[in-house]
Subunit: 117 residues, 2 copies
């Protein structure tokens, strides 16, 4: 049985945003920590941090703000613009999945492989 | 200025088809030669050949038939099913690009980065 898979991302000179960054920001937002979000993504903290810095540089605005100190060694929260971008991309991605599945059904729905026969 | 990029492919247990294989089959169809098509894709002949064999195994039908002999050492043509899959996928991909661009415009069209401001 065929399944449709897709990867989507935004670019200008470099990569700006996409499925992976959106997932990372969602986890930071939920966990309040880039370190924990990175572990959950099976990335090193360094990789996650480098990704965020690269995106921020290409986007021209900060995605995260660090909260210093405290017994837990501080945490990370999304900036207003970071959260707005995450939510916007997530809505876009959800709609994209829906229309891609519809198109896939239109074009491949009568194939033996896609009907479970 | 943001641009939308996407990769799409079909899977069941393994990869079945996608943007790269479609481009390779288009070139084989035009050039009548897997060897020339591979060069044009900047792949080695071996890579192209392995890709075709893997796809054929996953799909359960042949994509290409080889024409033996002749002064040029023979050539490669698409099978009827191979050409049908290529054309079907190409139509699907064209429609997918169109709806993804429309959705992108809907969701990101008012962002400074996407309007050229």
């Amino acid at each position: 049985m065929y399944r449709l898979r897709s990867k989507i991302w935004l670019e200008d000179r470099g990569k700006i945003f996409g499925d992976g960054p959106c997932e990372l920001l969602e986890k930071v937002d939920r966990m309040g920590s880039l370190r924990q979000a990175a572990v959950d993504m099976k990335m090193s903290y360094r990789q996650a941090w480098d990704l965020i810095r690269m995106l921020e540089e290409n986007l021209g605005f900060p995605l995260m703000e660090r909260q210093a100190g405290g017994s837990q060694g501080g945490g990370s929260n999304l900036t207003r613009e970071g959260r707005a971008l995450m939510l916007r991309y997530r809505d876009f991605r959800r709609d994209a999945d829906k229309v891609l599945e519809e198109l896939f059904e239109q074009h491949f729905g009568d194939s033996p492989g896609t009907t479970g026969d």
